[in-house]
């Protein structure tokens, strides 16, 4: 799956004779129609995406508190940022969250998808039930539920204490609270699972049958058939889940009771960006932070796209 691609497959490009006959005026009319239909998107792209991107790049090099006009300070925001222990902490917290949470979530999603793909009765029901958390996981309600379940004296704490490992609830413990957020994202494994499941359904059954005739066991079949065949879907899930988890905000904010703590233990990147921009009115600093986030996401995306040549298998005649 190449993400960036001509939206109309080549086969469809054959022009009908009627339009070819009309020649240039027809093409001009098509261009006009195209741009008219696209005009909401074009306006949105210029005013809400491209413009703001340029503006935030400019703000990143200024001292700006929203009330006075922006003052050019060169690289000050960036040098300040790199030396700022709280910024470093937010990078560390976010990196930990992404590196631990995303693989766990995707492994669970793939594992459960493999289980469900065996097509037993009730598969549709389980698929729906496992997907449900992905729809509500971002809500404030679930944030409160999470905060309650992981508090001192609540079920998680009691279960853990029963095994003689008392930490007094994850929410109040700086060493544990991030895992509470990891648990929340892993709980929402249903969305990537559904995509894995759709990918698994497209693997030709003849391949498995042939492999079985050759005496391949389940493990062998998984590594030599399933994994290569679903690698485009795996790539898609890794890309989207990684990019999304870089941007976690709401759940960290709500579960930590707006404090992104304790002791900055849940100070995810966007939480710090929010504090700097909207609590301290440091719009320049926050913009510099936003651009660093963009660079990080772009770097990860580039590495993933570069690496897909090595591990993503695209069937030539699949489309």
């Amino acid at each position: 799956m190449t993400l960036v691609k001509d939206p109309v497959p080549a086969a469809r490009k054959a022009r009908p004779a009627v339009r070819a006959a009309t020649g240039r005026p027809g093409r001009r009319r098509e261009n006009l129609a195209g741009y008219l239909f696209m005009s909401p998107w074009i306006a949105g792209f210029l005013l809400l995406t491209a413009g703001p991107m340029v503006a935030s790049l400019y703000f990143a090099f200024t001292d700006y508190n929203l009330f006075n006009s922006p003052k050019w300070v060169g690289l000050d925001n960036f040098t300040q940022m790199f030396a700022d222990p709280r910024w470093q902490k937010s990078v560390e917290v976010t990196a930990k969250y992404v590196i631990i949470g995303t693989p766990l979530k995707l492994l669970l999603a793939l594992g459960v998808a493999l289980l469900l793909a065996q097509s037993r009765r009730g598969q549709a029901f389980y698929r729906a039930a496992f997907y449900a958390p992905s729809l509500i996981g971002a809500s404030v309600s679930v944030g409160f539920v999470w905060r309650s379940l992981f508090s001192d004296g609540a079920i998680v704490d009691r279960t853990q204490s029963f095994f003689g490992w008392h930490v007094g609830g994850w929410v109040g413990n700086a060493d544990w609270v991030l895992y509470c957020l990891v648990a929340l994202t892993v709980w929402q494994f249903g969305a990537p699972m559904v995509i894995f499941l759709a990918g698994l359904k497209q693997v030709p059954r003849e391949l498995y049958e042939a492999a079985e005739v050759d005496g391949a066991g389940p493990v062998r079949k998984f590594w030599t058939i399933t994994l290569p065949m679903i690698s485009p879907v795996l790539f898609f899930n890794v890309l989207l889940e990684t990019i999304h988890s870089f941007q976690i905000f709401g759940s960290a904010y709500v579960v930590s009771n707006t404090q992104c703590g304790p002791a900055d233990a849940t100070l995810v990147y966007t939480c710090y960006l929010y504090q700097q921009g909207f609590k301290n009115a440091q719009m320049g600093f926050a913009s510099a932070m936003a651009w660093m986030l963009l660079l990080a996401v772009a770097l990860v995306t580039a590495v993933l796209f570069w690496s897909q040549k090595k591990w993503v298998y695209y069937e030539e005649d699949a489309r």
């Binding site: 960036v4 939206p7 109309v8 469809r12 490009k13 098509e30 195209g34 741009y35 239909f37 696209m38 909401p40 998107w41 792209f45 809400l48 995406t49 703001p52 935030s56 703000f59 929203l66 459960v112 289980l115 469900l116 065996q118 037993r120 009765r121 549709a124 698929r127 039930a129 496992f130 997907y131 958390p133 509500i136 404030v140 309600s141 679930v142 409160f144 539920v145 999470w146 309650s148 004296g153 609540a154 079920i155 009691r158 995509i195 759709a198 990918g199 359904k201 059954r205 498995y208 079985e212 058939i225 899930n237 990019i243 941007q247 904010y253 009771n257 913009s287 936003a290 963009l294 996401v297």
Partner: protein
């Protein structure tokens, strides 16, 4: 989708896995996954002091006072006001996304115009762009326009097709509709507007429904947008209204009320899900397959 064939050569093995083991495994996962949802239902009928510490899922003496308390509202705002605001936001977002994204998708999928491939790449690029890069300048712009504490900043993007995911979803769908349909219509003298409105749009219903439900749920759950742009309790959405139930020290004054309100806030999403789960899941599944 052949969901109910009993056994087929799968990944993990053939008949060997055993139906009982399969169901036990699935049920175990189900129990863990659904626990928080069941918990919040039970907890909303417990007295506030028992919410965290009582381990029984459902109280032996369920009480309704948490829900009755909601009728009084919070900080002089009626609970219903939050729901009205959320409905306005989510409803407005649905209309905007349906109109603007379907027009854009039609252009990408059915019109050959100069620069289309470039614009399509840009559109896909915005799909991967972290929203936070736009956050500060957008806020500055909306602040200068005097739009803070209104719903305009939250809705304007929906009317300008900035929700690239839905454009993408609709393009995927529309480009698979038979091209012969528009050619026939064109021979009959129909312009693009007619083809869009009477042929492509009706045939794209599944994609439109999926986009509409996702838009509704996303807007309903949206927290950061309202947090940044709305600052008067009377204008708060359900998400922000919920936040009013906690004290600054984190111990809710009315813990029972907070949990009851959490449950009530989840209900619309859960109902939508029960009604439309097929559309949601199939829409989600196809997003990863094509492209």
């Amino acid at each position: 989708m052949s969901a109910t064939t009993t056994t087929k050569p799968g990944v993990l093995g053939r008949k060997g896995t055993g139906s009982l083991a399969w169901h036990l495994g699935a049920l175990l996962i189900l129990a863990v996954i659904l626990y928080p949802v069941v918990w919040v239902i039970g907890a909303s009928f417990k007295p506030g002091k028992d919410v965290v510490n009582s381990l029984t899922l459902f109280p032996s003496h369920p009480i309704l006072s948490n829900f009755r308390g909601l009728a009084d509202g919070i900080a002089d705002v009626r609970i219903w006001t939050f729901f009205q605001n959320s409905l306005f936001y989510a409803g407005g977002a649905v209309v905007g996304v349906l109109v603007s994204c379907s027009l854009t998708a039609y252009a990408f999928a059915r019109i050959r115009f100069a620069g289309r491939n470039l614009l399509f790449s840009l559109m896909i690029g915005t799909l991967l762009l972290p929203y936070h890069v736009l956050l500060i300048p957008q806020y500055v712009m909306f602040q200068k326009l005097g739009w803070i504490n209104t719903y305009t900043p939250l809705l304007i993007g929906k009317y300008l097709a900035t929700e690239a995911f839905f454009v993408f979803l609709m393009v995927q769908f529309m480009r698979n509709l038979p091209k012969e349909l528009d050619e026939a219509a064109r021979l009959d003298g129909c312009g693009h507007l007619r083809i869009y409105w009477s042929i492509v749009l009706p045939l794209s219903r599944p994609a439109l429904i999926t986009s509409a439900i996702f838009t509704f749920i996303n807007a309903w759950n949206d927290f950061m947008g309202p947090l940044i742009y709305l600052n008067e309790p009377g204008k708060y959405t359900v998400s922000l209204g919920l936040m009013m139930f906690r004290d600054s020290d984190g111990v809710a004054a009315d813990y029972g009320g907070m949990i009851a309100m959490s449950l009530v806030a989840l209900l619309p999403v859960l109902l939508f899900f029960l009604a439309f789960q097929r559309h949601l899941i199939d829409g989600m599944a196809t997003s990863g397959l094509k492209g």
